[in-house]
Symmetry: C2
Subunit: 212 residues, 2 copies
Amino acid sequence: MSSVTIPTPDLAPRMRAEQRRELILEAATSVFGERGYVGTTTDAVARAAGVSQPYVVRMFGTKERLFLEVLQRALDRLLATFRAAIADPTPFVGADDTLGRRMGRAYAELLLDRGLLLSLMHSFLLGADPAIGAAARAGFLQVYRVLREEAGFSATETDQFLAHGMMMNTMVGLRMADEYVGGDLCAKDLLETAMPQKLDVLLRTSAENKPA
Amino acid sequence: MSSVTIPTPDLAPRMRAEQRRELILEAATSVFGERGYVGTTTDAVARAAGVSQPYVVRMFGTKERLFLEVLQRALDRLLATFRAAIADPTPFVGADDTLGRRMGRAYAELLLDRGLLLSLMHSFLLGADPAIGAAARAGFLQVYRVLREEAGFSATETDQFLAHGMMMNTMVGLRMADEYVGGDLCAKDLLETAMPQKLDVLLRTSAENKPA
DNA sequence: GTCTATAGGGCGATAGAC
DNA sequence: GTCTATCGCCCTATAGAC
């Protein structure tokens, strides 16, 4: 079985390369989320992905383009998650089961991939950057349109929804769960109110990434 | 009038130094808010303050200590603003005049100094950093306590208040007002709902800092 | 397609003059 | 107290071998 049915030499590397590309994007999402755009080195991304630093740069051109791809990928997942909740055919049961609640739960699920929402969040603070700022604004407005036009939220509902999303992102970025497990009573109140029924998710992401 | 009543040579430089210190902190707040902690160079701060780069480092020891001082100063102003609104003796008139509304307006006033809230916001995304993360969490919890214990907000009211604060910060960080003045209809809806009665403030800060 | 080696530039911090 | 000059590190990106 040494020379039998080897996948075509033309295709096999290409597929592995695309796997590597996805692997790098995933690693980059995590590192960018933790340290921000400027604070992230291409070497840190490379080490997290298990490849060499120049390979990361080769594959994406520049660090900025890598970050923009991370943002696009995060936005795609966010929109897909919202659209899945909107398209969910399960009938609503009880007053507590609304589309808003379902979307909120779907959003909180995304927090499991902490880097995803934090990378977006970091981009939201870089509005002054020509390329990143433009992409971030366009992405945020795209989310707004989906909430208004596809989920049918009113302007006020959308504002509430987005505000609490930003609040949750902030709690994750602050690693506020560390204070919660540390026993701080205010942190307890704060998190239990800000992240209803999703504290378990937050605490899980906190426990996972202790050695960061 | 060449040698008459010169301010004591021991005191005069010290006072000027403290003025310089405040000047540098103000400049640093602006630059940190715009580019974040890592994205800010001590040289950019120095140029914004009109002093030399080594002087900035000399005065604050390290860039990290400078940022921590910027954070403390921003937090102090934020808390002072809240406490002023809480202590305001003006009687409430009408159902629209509540402490929550007054605090919201007070917060929005702070947006005039854009760097102040954005520097804080940047710190909220650096929870993984040992020194900055710890300071950011402590600061956020201090704000929480003032809202609960001094303003008398309930857990839910505090959550709403903070969530909308994070939302406003995000709109400022995104420079979303640029899309507003650019004529984007969604940005118009979004901002008019997210920043009720305070759009003028946002647009003013947008117009000011065009050449950044 | 992926690596090692390294160039090139920028930044934080120090030394030392005034 | 404030500056000029500069060191030494780190980081992005390129060159080139395999």
